[in-house]
Amino acid sequence: MSDPLISVKNLHTQFHTDDGTVRAVDGIDVDVSRGETVCIVGESGSGKTVTSESITKILQMPPGDIPIGEVQFRDVESVRELADQFPKRVFDVHEDDAPGTAGTDVPPEEDRPGDEKHFVIVEERSGDRISRGYIDMVRAPDNALRKIRGGDIAHIFQNPQSALNPVYTVGWQIVEAVQLHSDDDDEAARERAIDLLDRVGIPDAAARFDDYPHEFSGGMKQRVIIAMALASNPDVLIADEPTTALDVTIQAQILDLLAEIQEDLGMAILFITHDLGVVAEIADRVVVMYAGKVMESGEVFDLFESPAHPYTRALLECLPGRGGDMVSIGGSLPSVTNPPDGCRFAPRCPHAVDDCFTGDQPPMYSVEGADQEVSCVFYGDGYDESVVQTEFAAAQNRTARTDGGRTTGRRAGTDTDESVRSDGGDR
């Protein structure tokens, strides 16, 4: 099966606040296939976490809202199960031979099949059985999602200190996760929970079953949370910076544990991080996010070997201990309530040209000779991509020198978003 297990398509997640609509995620595509590890990287505020929480819609809605986009979850078992459970909300793509499909006379919004109430999309049937299809997580109601959350797609979070409920024992919390997705009685669930605690490396698991979260260290809590996530053998584990709050020695242990579990259970991992060192260690594919948009995505070796987007280059050069000059990217993230025209990174990009400040974010161009896609005008027609394939730091210095007297709009690091936007508009 070549279809990815999770496909995020043109996802827009917004937060309605008093200061306007925050476009935290503004049209991104991410695919995760069975068994692979996909890393989403980007600096703080780039929309990584919101992306991960949009997939199972565990973010607060309202104020969160997903007005556009689709999150396809292609697990045939789940599709069949939910199709039985919500027969009226199934949409058959081959509507002619689908008996009893409601609402086919309604024109589909955009190019999505079915209308707002259809969230189980059936693409192929062999006989009576559904053989290909997906669940649109964005349209799915809470009572359908509750089976998938924790059951098929599990989460682990950044801060283990606050991710466990302080008033219940860790055993209780794992048993809850087990029983939410199985018919296990208390005794069986308890045994399963102890097995899980043992599996994630909690010493003397049976004795620690009745301990409260505050009796565990940070690393141990993260193990407990991982145990909870594994309660019903999920297909996908979404890990949102699971090692950020832990010290370095524990980080390595947790990463090893995740790798080990992935190998055992064959689950896919969507890993959110800002740590490129971690990415290099665990990722199969990488998605680089910036200000709610995807800058670049690709196979991990290609991306590290030949970073295509100036932002990716900049990120890699920010990594300490690589021998060369360590730099910081000047400037800061653009406003997310009122993002600038053109490429989101243009205001901080030393290579930016006029085209970078107009229109929308450039489309994803394939990079020749590599398993990589990049959203940069230099990879489009009429541009020479080798221009941006220089060292970011060097380019930054060069631009600073040669452009010293020019408008500062394109020079990285010296402008506020406002002035950049008005500069861009004037040109």
């Binding site: 929480e53 199972t56 565990i58 607060q60 309202p62 809470d142 009572n143 509750r146 089976k147 998938i148 959350r149 924790g150 059951g151 599990a154 989460h155 979070f157 801060n159 606050s162 991710a163 466990l164 409920n165 302080p166 008033v167 219940y168 024992t169 809850e176 996760a177 939410l180 997705h181 409260y212 505050h214 949370i225 909870m228 996530a229 309660a231």
Partner: protein
């Protein structure tokens, strides 16, 4: 756990003892109105004011040493001998015991209603923050907090008692005594319960909303959602349960507020012969022993309430250890 409770109880006894001592000292330095009156009368009728004072002190045992009077006072209180009410011509404790049921009749339902309804609305409000229902609940809460109880009581009496005639205006103790659990009794207690509850519901609601909001946004609630918990399980297990820890502090304040300040006003307005009314009459008539007795009730409630609260804490929040305190 048992040791912790024992220590807490012992501590509560110490607190009660300290309060008794302080009130004794206050009484000692307060000028006695009755002495002044007796001396005035004696002087008017040509007698010796000093002799009248001696006779008075002799009769009351005030001529004994301070220490003896103090020990006797404490012993009497511990033994349940709380003094003699001059205005009612009965022991203070009897007067209190006689009036307590009337107070409990409306305050107990009021506490239950305000706790359940207040927390319920508060939780609902927190889960539906910034929706129309949340705004409506907030409006009701501010109404309840802002409106003075005695005025609200009078208005309710005027509208529902006088104009509409739905509820009786005069509280009949005979109904309350003979048919405590009857519709007729409920009818005459309805308005006092409403008046007392509005304020308390409002307070509870605001607290519950604020506390629950903190937990609605908590990381562990997100964890629970990611596990697949929804609906009632989410609400009761993952939001309400941790919220109970800070909310348990409200309990004592509730009991105190109801039995002390509000009940006095409500009982006066509705003519209920409860503890509040007893206390009010005692103060007006300068019946010192009775004033003291009625003041001790809220004092002891707060001591016991704090004790219960400390115990509730250790039961509700596993992070609070009761080992080393």
């Amino acid at each position: 756990m048992r040791w912790y409770v024992i220590r807490r109880v012992a501590w509560a006894a110490v607190v009660a003892f300290v309060i008794l001592t302080i009130t004794f000292l206050f009484l000692e330095i307060t000028p006695d109105q009755q002495v002044a009156q007796l001396q005035f009368q004696a002087a008017q009728s040509g007698g010796d004011p000093e002799a009248a004072l001696d006779a008075y002190e002799q009769r009351r045992g005030l001529n004994q040493p301070l220490w003896d009077r103090y020990t006797e006072y404490v012993t009497n209180y511990v033994q349940g001998n709380w003094g003699w009410s001059d205005t009612r011509s009965e022991p203070v404790l009897d007067a209190i015991v006689a009036s307590l049921p009337y107070s409990i009749m409306y305050s107990a339902p009021s506490i239950v209603i305000s706790t359940v309804v207040g927390m319920g609305i508060g939780l609902y409000s927190a889960l539906n923050q910034y929706t129309k229902t949340d705004y409506a609940a907030t409006f009701v809460a501010f109404f309840g907090i802002s409106i003075p109880n005695f005025w609200f009581g009078i208005m309710l009496l005027l509208i529902f008692g006088e104009t509409l005639g739905w509820f009786p205006i005069i509280f009949q103790t005979s109904i309350a005594d003979t048919q405590t659990f009857s519709l007729a009794n409920l009818r005459q207690l309805f308005l006092p319960i409403v008046v007392l509850s509005t304020g308390a519901i409002a307070g509870n609601m605001r607290y519950a909303r604020a506390e629950a909001l903190e937990y609605v946004r908590a990381e562990f609630v997100k964890t629970a959602r990611a596990k697949g918990a929804t609906g009632w399980r989410m609400l009761s297990r993952h939001i309400l349960r941790p919220t109970l820890v800070p909310l348990s502090t409200l309990l004592v304040g509730d009991l105190l507020g109801l039995l002390l300040a509000s009940s006095l006003l409500v009982e006066v307005v509705f003519g209920i012969p409860g503890v509040g009314r007893l206390s009010y009459d005692a103060i007006i008539n300068q019946d010192t022993d009775l004033v003291l007795g009625t003041v001790f009730i809220p004092v002891f409630i707060s001591v016991v309430g704090n004790l219960l609260q400390d115990i509730a804490y250790t039961v509700l929040d596993p992070r609070i250890s009761y080992g080393d305190r």
